[in-house]
């Protein structure tokens, strides 16, 4: 696979990714998708949804080998949490 490098700075990358998630993905996910990963190409808006983060990104790269991928997670503000700090608004179950 061709080596892909980030072509945008971190702030623009995140902003494009979050905007595309809101525009193209949020309206199509349900409660059953909660916790799944969304890999979005910030240049084309193409995306893949999977419960496995690696699978989501690899499937999108198979379709678009030079994709600039932003990784989001359904139902959470961030892709990951490091250090155990679920948001106050999230239920504990």
């Amino acid at each position: 696979m061709e080596a892909v490098k980030p072509r945008y700075g971190p702030a623009e990358f995140a902003q494009r990714g979050q905007t595309l998630y809101e525009q193209k993905v949020r309206g199509h996910v349900t409660d059953e998708d909660k916790g799944k990963f969304v890999a979005i190409d910030i240049e084309t808006g193409a995306y893949e949804l999977d419960s496995d983060d690696y699978a989501a990104t690899e499937r999108l790269l198979q379709r678009q080998p030079v994709a600039q991928i932003w990784l989001s997670r359904v139902g959470d503000r961030t892709t990951y949490r490091i250090g155990g700090c679920p948001p106050m608004e999230r239920s504990w179950s």
């Binding site: 696979m1 080596a3 892909v4 490098k5 980030p6 971190p10 702030a11 990358f13 995140a14 990714g17 890999a39 983060d53 690696y54 990104t57 690899e58 790269l61 991928i69 932003w70 990784l71 989001s72 503000r77 961030t78 892709t79 990951y80 949490r81 490091i82 250090g83 155990g84 700090c85 948001p87």
Partner: protein, 131 residues
Amino acid sequence: MVIGRINAFYEAVIPIRLQDVKGIVHEFTAVVDTGFNGTLTLPSKTIALLGLPWRTRGSAALADGSEGTFDIYAATILWDGLPRPILVEAVEMMPLVGMRLLADHDLQMRVQPGGAVKIVAVRKHGESRTR
């Protein structure tokens, strides 16, 4: 099965084995962090040493409530004796093993300095007991 120890700082420390781009296996030490809901973090110098390919960017919330953007790389970890492709977040601290790597495993710890940490794959229904 993975065997580790509780260290003097009450951290659950385990060995992890990762392949570099040439397939050569390197062993590192990682801390099990049940508050991390990803798979693995590595510092960028370790990612460079292994020659891991960049894959994506994502965000993470840290323990103080702040949020940051991180580069994410593809890696192959030897887990349960088998190579397993994973995504690794570049974070400048000691490697952390998160809950996604521990999925479908039992985690047992004797929480005292020197105490054993055991990570054992959960047998799937119908799987041989002699494995």
